[in-house]
């Protein structure tokens, strides 16, 4: 997949995935790799930035296997940011799809 396309959407995908349920860094990386060919070096700094910006919060929880893990959950600011990003994304996809179909250029 084109790198430039991926660049803008990783943050949106991370927030969306964590909205479904709390995830550890490992889980975020493993899930996102399943659908997007992204480097771990790309995702982890985004997780830290979103946490520092107050869009995610980190809690330690007991794990079923092994030592306690840190889990990311969406804050209310994170939820608002996600809604905004989703709106922007849907609008963007609609407009680009329109161009690709040649709707305004036929």
């Amino acid at each position: 997949m084109n790198t430039q396309f991926k660049k803008g959407v990783v943050e949106l995908c991370v927030l969306k995935m964590i909205e479904y349920h709390s995830m550890s860094s490992f889980e975020v990386l493993e899930h996102i790799r399943h659908d997007l060919d992204v480097n771990e070096n790309t995702v982890y700094p985004i997780l830290r930035r979103l946490t520092n910006d107050g869009l995610l919060e980190v809690n330690k929880k007991e794990s079923l296997v092994g030592a306690p893990r840190k889990y990311y959950t969406l804050t209310s600011d994170g939820s608002n940011q996600l809604k905004q990003l989703e709106t922007d994304w849907n609008d963007f996809v609609t407009r680009v799809s329109s161009i690709m179909r040649g709707e305004n250029y036929e």
Partner: protein, 326 residues
């Protein structure tokens, strides 16, 4: 690479990039948990670590997490060269204190040490070389106490000793670098014959015993340096020391004859360069800091030209520009 090595290298990389200490601990904990969770999920440790990327690359991607520099402190450090030049000219033109007024240039590294760190230990240990040079030059210039004022340089290892965690090493260090010099000073004041200088063999012995003094001759990064050159360098250093002490025991020109020691690094550079590649010469600009210092001190002292001889330091950038092949 295993988890332990990976985390150690990552820590070093983050420290080198001035990341905040709290962030470093957080990041290391996160990566440790990621690797542990990968192992719990049946992934291979080394394969997963390889996927995470090199510590250098990871630290580079986290570069925005730098330690917040105190703006005011950075400004003081940046201003210090200009303040030093201004102070030097005031001392020179108004008070004719070109020498030892040039000592004000030491406020540049002193500012760097004072405002570049919060750690008391780093400040104390970092400042002692400059404090000792200033005190030595002042005592020598105004009280002609070049000897025994050179003892002041013992505050450098003494400062390091104060912060040692090992109690025994601390006591032995205080004896070696504090008590022994004081005894020497006392014996010197009694005017007894100069054999009491042998008391410093105790300092040397204690230093070697505690590991604070290690005798090693070699060139950084070159383990193949021939035995011939190593012994030659030892002979040259010892010869310079003997010449310096013998000459000054007779003529008492401790300053400025100390510049003779600057010939040694120049000789080493020339010799090692030819050892590594006989076809290639070290650029002349590499020698200019030493040449400039020697000329500055000798012309300043013997012709009382410190107010002009500082200009020899302009040799460094001028030669660099003129010899630049680009």
């Amino acid at each position: 690479m295993n988890k332990q090595v990976f985390l150690e290298e990552l820590k070093d990389e983050l420290i080198n990039r001035s990341v905040e200490e709290k962030s470093i601990l957080d990041i290391l904990e996160d990566y440790q948990m990621m690797i542990d969770e990968a192992l719990d999920n049946g992934l291979d440790e080394e394969e997963y670590i390889q996927r995470l990327g090199s510590p250098s690359r990871i630290a580079g991607s986290l570069r925005y997490e730098k330690r917040k520099e105190r703006v005011k402190d950075s400004k003081i450090i940046a201003l210090s060269p200009f303040l030093a030049v201004a102070a030097y000219f005031v001392l020179g033109f108004y008070y004719q204190l070109w020498h030892p007024g040039w000592l004000v240039f030491l406020i540049i590294p002193i500012a760097g040490v004072l405002f570049g760190t919060d750690q008391i230990k780093e400040r104390v240990v970092g400042l002692t070389p400059f404090v000792s040079v200033i005190l030595y030059m002042l005592l020598g210039t105004y009280a002609s106490l070049w000897h025994p004022a050179w003892l002041i340089f013992f505050i450098i290892p003494l400062a390091g000793t104060l912060f040692l965690k090992d109690g025994n090493k601390k006591i032995l260090g205080l004896i070696a670098y504090g008590v022994i010099p004081l005894i020497y000073l006392y014996l010197n004041s009694l005017g007894v014959n100069s054999w009491y200088g042998l008391i410093f063999l105790i300092t040397l012995g204690l230093g070697i015993y505690t590991g604070e003094i290690q005798l090693h001759v070699g060139i950084a990064g070159d383990s193949e340096l021939s035995k011939q050159y190593k012994y030659r360098f030892i002979v040259i250093v010892i010869s310079l020391l003997v010449i310096y002490f013998l000459f000054n025991l007779i003529f008492a020109l401790w300053h400025p004859t100390w510049v003779i020691f600057l010939l040694f690094p120049m000789y080493v550079m020339y010799t090692v360069a030819h050892e590594i590649d006989p076809e290639e010469d070290i650029p002349f600009v590499a020698y200019t800091p030493f040449i400039a210092t020697i000329l500055f001190v000798l012309v300043g002292h013997f012709f009382d030209f410190y107010h002009l001889s500082w200009m020899f330091f302009l040799l460094i950038p001028v030669v660099a520009i003129l010899s630049d092949r680009d």
